[in-house]
């Protein structure tokens, strides 16, 4: 009988896998681009984690899948990433009452009850504005790496306004800023601000109760994080590995199911 629990989060852009032991201790994690088959990527990542820890499939007691690919992944149970995200964050920050999660294709605000149960949530509508994908498209137009957006934004003197909420139209706006000769850091700051203001307005639907945790892959972007703090007027807590918190929640659920 296995003693390890697996959380698999097959997201729209990235697949994340987390392994915990019976004491909820995180023993391994792996991430990869979801690509055409998130399911195959997840299987490869699981094999990686297991071999890194000198384990094999028999050591796995239960698996919970979450994210967009959750339905087709063979697991004991599939749970939505909203519930998993809440679980993971409550485990890392027991005082957290609000989670702001910006992932590849969606952004969400989750209101937590003590203990990590979901009280309410709001998500972006059928639109990529305010998501990681938006940042990727803009980084492409600016010919910079997504990971460098934060540092670039920090050098901005005067943030450019990006007013369109449509990803395609916003890209044209950026191109016109470029042709107007605006400095790159100012445009990047505008991009970060655009994402932050979009997500900040979602918090008005759920309310904003501290502590507020910022998670999802975009939380690594210090430009968006500081723009969000400015819009919300409060301090944000950041998990050490913000992209794996939903997978962590899934792994914790796998442990609970097993007990």
């Amino acid at each position: 009988m296995g003693q390890y629990f697996l959380g698999v989060d097959i997201g729209s852009l990235t697949t994340k896998v987390v392994l915990v032991d019976g004491n909820c201790k995180l023993v391994g994690r792996a991430t990869g681009r979801s690509g055409y088959s998130g399911r195959e990527v997840a299987k490869r990542l699981i094999a990686e984690i297991l071999s890194q820890n000198g384990l094999d499939e028999k050591d796995l007691a239960a698996t919970v899948a979450t994210g967009y690919g959750r339905v087709t992944f063979p697991a004991e149970r599939e749970i939505s990433e909203i519930t998993c995200q809440a679980k993971g964050i409550a485990h890392l920050f027991s005082a957290a009452r609000t989670v702001i999660d910006i992932g590849g294709q969606d952004s969400k605000v989750i209101k937590l009850l003590p203990g990590g149960k979901v009280a309410d949530f709001a998500m972006n509508d059928k639109c990529a504005a305010g998501t990681g994908r938006f940042l990727e498209v803009m980084a492409g137009a600016l010919e910079v790496r997504v990971n460098d957006l934060g540092d670039l934004a920090a050098d901005s003197k005067e943030c450019c306004a990006i007013s369109s909420i449509c990803t395609v139209f916003a890209e044209s706006e950026i191109i016109s800023h470029i042709s107007a000769g605006k400095p790159k850091p100012d445009i990047v700051a505008g991009v970060c601000d655009s994402v932050a203001s979009r997500v900040a307005s979602m918090t008005s639907r759920t309310g904003l109760e501290p502590e507020v945790v910022f998670t999802g892959g975009v939380a690594r972007n210090s430009g968006v994080a500081s723009a969000l703090e400015k819009h919300l007027g409060c301090r944000l807590l950041l998990p050490p590995e913000p992209e794996i918190t939903a997978a962590l929640g899934a792994a914790l659920f796998a442990r609970e199911i097993n007990q």
Binding site: I82, D120, F121, M123, D125, R205
Partner: protein, 406 residues
Amino acid sequence: MSEQRRYKQLASTRALKKTMTRYYALSSYHRFWGKPLRRPLAWVTSGAPVELLRSFNIHPVYPEQYGAICSTNKATAGLCQVAEAAGYSQDLCSYATSHIGSVMQPALAPMNGLPKPDLLLACNNICGTVLKWYEALARHFNIPLFVVDTPFLPDQLTDHARAYVLEQLKDITASLERLTGRRLDREKLAECVALSNEVVTLWKEIREFCRARPSPLNGPDLFIHMAPIVVLRGTRQAVNYYRILRDEVQKRVEQGVSAIEGEKIRLVWDNIAIWSNLFKFFKMFSERGACFVTDTYTGGWVMELAPGDPMESLATTYTSIFLNRSPEFRARQIIDLVKEYNADGFVMHSNRSCKPYSLVQEVIRKRVMQETGVPGLVVEADMADPRSYAEEPVRNRVQAFLETLS
């Protein structure tokens, strides 16, 4: 599991189909019987005082219901594109655009479009779109358009508002007298109003049976079986049909028969159905044991016509319908439904097409959550246009919402 939880059809569906087929067959053959019987055909909005038309022997046809039929027949997107190519905005109501598309290219439309109207009657108690929509139709067919302007009620109905609407109904009556060459038959009007009331009482009874646990009906049942009350209100056929349905639903309650297998979660629905994905959408809930025991939309037809002078009663009732009232009124309505039906949560369809219904939902959602303590979910879609429905994001929200309830 999902096999067990499949949709349980009511036996009354046969009678429903018969009633509706007869109505639409009669309507589409109007060109043969309308003139000889001197019975004009009117296109009317869902919230128009149809009893007045019926008392003049005018046959009413409902473009809004037809919009729903187009959607369940997968014709909406194509019809909207026809209207959009002619310059109508994609941001307009999809009932309006698809219907205008069906007028322009009947060959693309179910039943080859609706039978041609002799007159139009629009009442803006449901929205402002109907005014421009019906003006466009009046220009296209070059036929008379009658408008009933019902002032929005921020609070209670005022004497002034009632008098204003009553005056208009009298004006329209005079015009209809000229148009049909008949005098208003007050007895016939009173009879139509009485028949409407009978139907409304039956529909109310049917809906209230769903307070039972488990509920005998689920959301899709309410949406499908509301068809006759929309188009046949004020007729004997509607009364006959709803008696059959009432008896069946009553029997379900007496025998403890549930609408869905293993009802665990009871929900209230707000707004028009997502016709393009009606069963698929509600199945996301029923397969997790969640049943929509009541809703605000089909409840809109539970509007008793006050006793007294029929014309005054029409003015009062049609001005007071819920879409013509304040967010406070609408929040109170959902709060009462949650309490009366013992609901565990509520789901609001933020309907791209229907602005008056959807615009204030966030305010209402907060108030209902505060006062009842049950959670509310907002789902973004469109009542008819499948281009505004994205299944994956919807499934994601629905699942997360149901997880918070179980």
